[in-house]
């Protein structure tokens, strides 16, 4: 899932500028799970912004809408009218949702309420860690199902570096050394030999380094050519 956290409320309030009629849009998927951008958080932000306005003397009206997924067209139906009447939308979605709304409502300013952080997994209540950087060329089969790109601080492929100590990364004692994890796991499943060869220089062009990426499935797109957005 995508993990995000709320921006400081002061920063959000400042970003509203002179807009008066604000729609606060929550997103019901990843950011709800990580307690940053669900309906509950949207109502909280509404309350906090109202307090900020009272102090600063700003006069604003807020309406909360809950969108099931802000990164997909089909979930906006029913909210279009409310959104169209706003001066601006404060989106509690990840960066993809914010941008998707900005494309959809071309004349409306869409402001982010979250800092989108990473693709990760839940590690117990209120704790998430990064697991994947979407490199576009997965090699988990060689590394025991543990990702060297996202879980080694240097994203090295023939680790560990000399800074690995007692299972921790040189960057911080709070960070596990990804290569120690890879080693432990491969040893546990009797597959250490997978590390005996050199992992060759990577082709990063499948990653963000090759420019913004897209994915088109020909079969799923039959007859849809006319509907292409942008």
């Amino acid at each position: 899932m995508i993990v995000a956290e709320q921006k400081p409320i002061g920063d959000i309030a400042a970003s509203l500028g002179s807009f008066k009629n604000i729609v606060i849009a929550s997103c019901d998927t990843c950011v709800t799970v990580c307690l940053a951008g669900g309906e509950k958080e949207a109502l909280e932000i509404q309350g906090l912004l109202t307090l900020c306005d009272r102090e600063s003397g700003a006069e604003r009206a807020y309406t909360v809408v809950n969108i099931k997924r802000q990164c997909d067209d089909e979930f906006f139906e029913g909210e279009n009218d409310v959104i169209a009447r706003a001066d601006a939308v404060l989106s509690l979605a990840c960066g993809a949702g914010v941008q998707f709304m900005a494309e959809k409502y071309r004349s409306l300013p869409i402001l982010p309420a979250l800092n989108t952080k990473f693709m990760g997994a839940s590690r117990g209540l209120g704790y998430w860690t990064e697991m994947c950087q979407g490199c576009g060329n997965c090699i988990l089969e060689r590394t025991g199902g543990i990702c060297p790109v996202s879980r080694c601080s240097k994203s090295i492929f023939n680790g560990p570096c000399g800074g690995s100590q007692n299972g921790k990364c040189e960057v911080s004692p709070d960070i596990d050394c990804g290569w120690q994890l890879i080693y432990d796991r491969l040893r546990a499943i009797g597959q250490l030999d997978r590390l005996s060869g050199i992992i060759e220089t990577r082709d990063w062009s499948t990653s963000r380094d090759g420019g913004p990426r897209s994915l088109a499935l020909p079969d799923a797109r039959v007859g849809k050519e006319d509907e292409r957005v942008v």
């Binding site: 090295i156 000399g162 100590q165 040189e170 960057v171 050394c177 290569w179 080693y183 050199i198 220089t201």
Partner: protein
């Protein structure tokens, strides 16, 4: 026509090598490098020039290396993967060779968060083993990482590091094998204080026959003060027996004690089977290097003349 480095000749002619280190200044002051270099002339076969060590901005290792060689000490250019992608790395390799550098040491480099530019984007396009592999291919086959041809490739004496004390030891040993398989011709180890642990590691290295495939040089740090040894102890992958720290604390003259410890270590490490040289890291105390070299009987350094018949 031979372009072999002095360090390579020293080792190939069967001598025990002695190398040391120069940390470039945090400034554009060439005189600082020249001064340090002059202290080392005749006292070591070559000096490593660190590459923005600990992720702190310093004069470039290539530039400082060339200044050092103008003073008469041969540089070992350190090249880390932290700050340059494969385009910049290969370009700097060509430049370093063109300017006369003949030894290259490939490292991962310390993470930016350990240095003073914590906001920096880290690069790590390729890692140190992939860099060794890339340089070896460029040198042996004349091809860049792109697959494109290089008409006049460099021919560095190629080195890498090993940490006998880092975790997990089995994987670290596999990495050493990979480094040598990738093309490392010499290996410099992390500083050794715990000679027994080092001997155990060397036994494993010998069992794999790695000491016959690359020249292994044992690293030592000379500490000038109690603070210096305490700081050294904090470096990741460093193991210092308590007795050395106690000796430094108890000594009236900590610098003299630090030097005495270094002499003992050199003496013991020279005896370890399979060790082909000593690498002294003087952490800013360059003037002690000639003294250590002399007192441990490693002077004069061999002439290591160019052989005429080299192809």
């Amino acid at each position: 026509m031979s372009d072999k480095s002095r360090l390579q000749r020293v080792l190939e002619q069967g001598n025990f090598s002695l190398t040391t280190e120069i940390g470039p200044p945090m400034s554009a002051d060439a005189q600082l490098v020249r001064k340090k270099a002059r202290m080392l002339v005749g006292a070591a076969d070559a000096a490593n020039i660190t590459d923005n060590q600990a992720a702190v901005v310093r004069m470039s290792s290539i530039a400082a290396g060339i200044l050092a060689s103008q003073e008469g000490i041969e540089p070992v250019i350190q090249m880390t993967c932290r700050d340059r992608n494969r385009i910049a790395l290969q370009s700097d390799l060509l430049g370093a060779w063109a300017l006369g550098a003949r030894n290259l040491l490939c490292l991962s480099g310390d993470h930016p968060s350990l240095g003073n530019h914590k906001q920096a984007k880290n690069v790590y396009d390729i890692d140190s083993i992939q860099l060794l592999q890339a340089v070896a291919r460029l040198q042996n086959e004349g091809v860049f990482l792109s697959g494109g041809k290089c008409r006049h490739p460099p021919h560095f004496f190629l080195g890498a590091t090993a940490n006998p004390f880092a975790d997990p030891s089995e994987l670290q040993l596999m990495r050493l094998q990979k480094k040598i398989a990738a093309g490392a011709q010499f290996i410099q180890t992390q500083a050794v204080y715990d000679v027994e642990a080092f001997e155990q590691w060397m036994a494993r290295v010998r069992a794999l026959g790695l000491h016959e495939k690359a020249y292994i040089q044992a690293g030592i740090v000379v500490n000038k003060s109690v603070k210096s040894i305490e700081m050294t102890r904090l470096v990741a992958g460093m193991r210092i027996p308590e007795s050395y720290i106690d000796r430094m604390r108890a000594a009236g003259d900590a610098a003299a004690e630090g030097k005495a410890i270094a002499l003992e270590l050199i003496c013991r490490l020279r005896q370890v089977e399979g060790i082909r040289g000593i690498h002294i890291m003087s952490v800013g105390w360059e003037e002690v290097v000639p003294e250590l070299a002399g007192e441990s009987g490693l002077l004069p350094r061999p002439a290591a003349e160019q052989e005429d018949e080299t192809v």
